[in-house]
């Protein structure tokens, strides 16, 4: 259906040749934009109806005073279900510290949350297939688990700003959610408006980059340089992802275009993770609670983890 829409708009309505660069790019753009927005609205609405979208306050209650291994597993799963806005990562960090949740577990949460979420997971599977979707989610969870453990090993307490330890948190008694059908519907609509309103820019940008890649990058060049997973292509993908920032949904069309042209899977996964979880703006926000040495280690741990993911997938599927 979406392909039909893309074909009609690009080739019939505008009259571009199917073989031309611009025709292919526009066809991809229309097809992906329509498909992603339909999926996005549908998935968020259903999650909202089921009230499957968790708030960080609830996560904090679930994770606190659990044994460390369980806390970490919970933090990762709940992180994947909490589509928090990166502007909340400071209060979230402080809230976790105040609840006595170990820093390593907090880092696991911070890694998992932007990288994986239920909406992106559904989109991944429907746009890239079950195999790629499952690989991305599994690799992301593994990175969050190990990354948090490695962070703990560096004793990051040293670099947490002093004021963080002193903050006393109050208890908010939030109103009970309205669980009638009408209430659920209102909540779901609100979530759609809120989340789509926040991420549409990333999605548009992601689709535009994907379309440009699909239409203009010659397959020949990809076949020669990126298809066999040369060693250097993975670190290059990770480095490329640092100044680029998008959310987990926005990277999907880019991945789709790259995989379509035959870029090696590990290289694509490394780029996706780096764009979603390792970014300059995110680091600048975290700077308010963690001093530079801690942040540098955090970024390095992530970069190394993404490279390992990239290399091992390229190796497995070579």
């Amino acid at each position: 259906m979406f392909e039909w829409l893309g074909n009609n708009v690009a080739y019939k309505l505008i009259g571009l040749a199917p073989a031309s660069h611009s025709g292919q790019a526009l066809q991809f753009f229309v097809m992906d934009i329509s498909k992603i927005f339909v999926l996005l609205v549908g998935v968020i609405y259903i999650m909202g109806l089921l009230r499957a979208i968790l708030s960080p306050e609830r996560v904090r209650e679930y994770v606190r005073s659990k044994p460390r291994w369980l806390a970490r597993v919970l933090a990762i799963f709940l992180g994947a279900m909490t589509p928090f806005c990166s502007c909340s990562s400071v209060p979230l960090f402080i809230g976790f510290v105040e609840a006595g949740i170990p820093l390593g577990v907090t880092f696991s949460f911070l890694i998992a949350s932007p990288m994986i979420n239920e909406v992106a997971a559904v989109l991944l599977v429907s746009m890239l297939g079950f195999k790629v979707g499952a690989m991305y989610v599994a690799a992301g969870m593994a990175v969050a688990f190990v990354g948090g453990m490695v962070m703990e090993w560096f004793r990051p307490e040293r670099w947490v700003e002093d004021y963080v330890w002193k903050i006393q948190m109050g208890v908010a008694t939030l109103q009970q959610p309205d669980t009638s059908l009408a209430g659920r519907h209102r909540f779901a609509l609100g979530e759609v408006r809120e989340i789509v309103g926040r991420i549409w820019k990333w999605v548009m940008a992601g689709v535009a980059v994907g379309a440009a890649f699909h239409g203009y990058v010659p397959s020949q060049w990809i076949q020669e340089h990126l298809a066999n997973g040369d060693i250097w292509s993975v670190p290059a993908a990770v480095v490329l992802g640092v100044p680029l920032y998008s959310n987990a949904t926005g990277v999907i069309p880019i991945a789709e275009a790259m995989l379509g042209k035959g870029v090696a899977i590990g290289t694509v996964l490394a780029l996706m993770m780096s764009i979603a979880a390792l970014s300059l703006p995110e680091m600048l926000i975290l700077k308010k609670v963690i001093r530079w040495p801690g942040l540098a280690i955090y970024a390095s741990v992530l970069a190394v983890a993404f490279m390992l993911v990239g290399w091992s997938f390229n190796w497995m599927f070579a």
Partner: protein, 78 residues
């Protein structure tokens, strides 16, 4: 007169929340005092982790995300 505090450290949704409350209060003709709380320690004292949060007369009524127009109207009527 209602004392309304919007908790949030300057994200775009926080600014949108303030603008929304301001506008709805004017439309409804309700007298409010709107205050923006940006200090993170103070935000946390309310027990709010997901911003923007909204506090009316000392009670947290909302946390995380832009409240809907209907919700804001409900607060102003209460």
């Amino acid at each position: 007169m209602k004392e309304i505090k919007v908790l949030g450290s300057g994200c775009s949704t926080c600014r949108a929340t303030i603008a929304l409350i301001q506008k709805e209060a004017e439309t409804a003709g309700v007298d409010i005092r709107l205050e923006k709380v940006e200090d993170i320690a103070e935000i946390m004292r309310f027990g709010v982790m997901s911003t923007p949060g909204v506090v009316i007369d000392g009670t947290v009524v909302h946390a995380g995300g832009l409240p809907s127009k209907e919700t804001v109207q409900g607060w102003l009527r209460a």
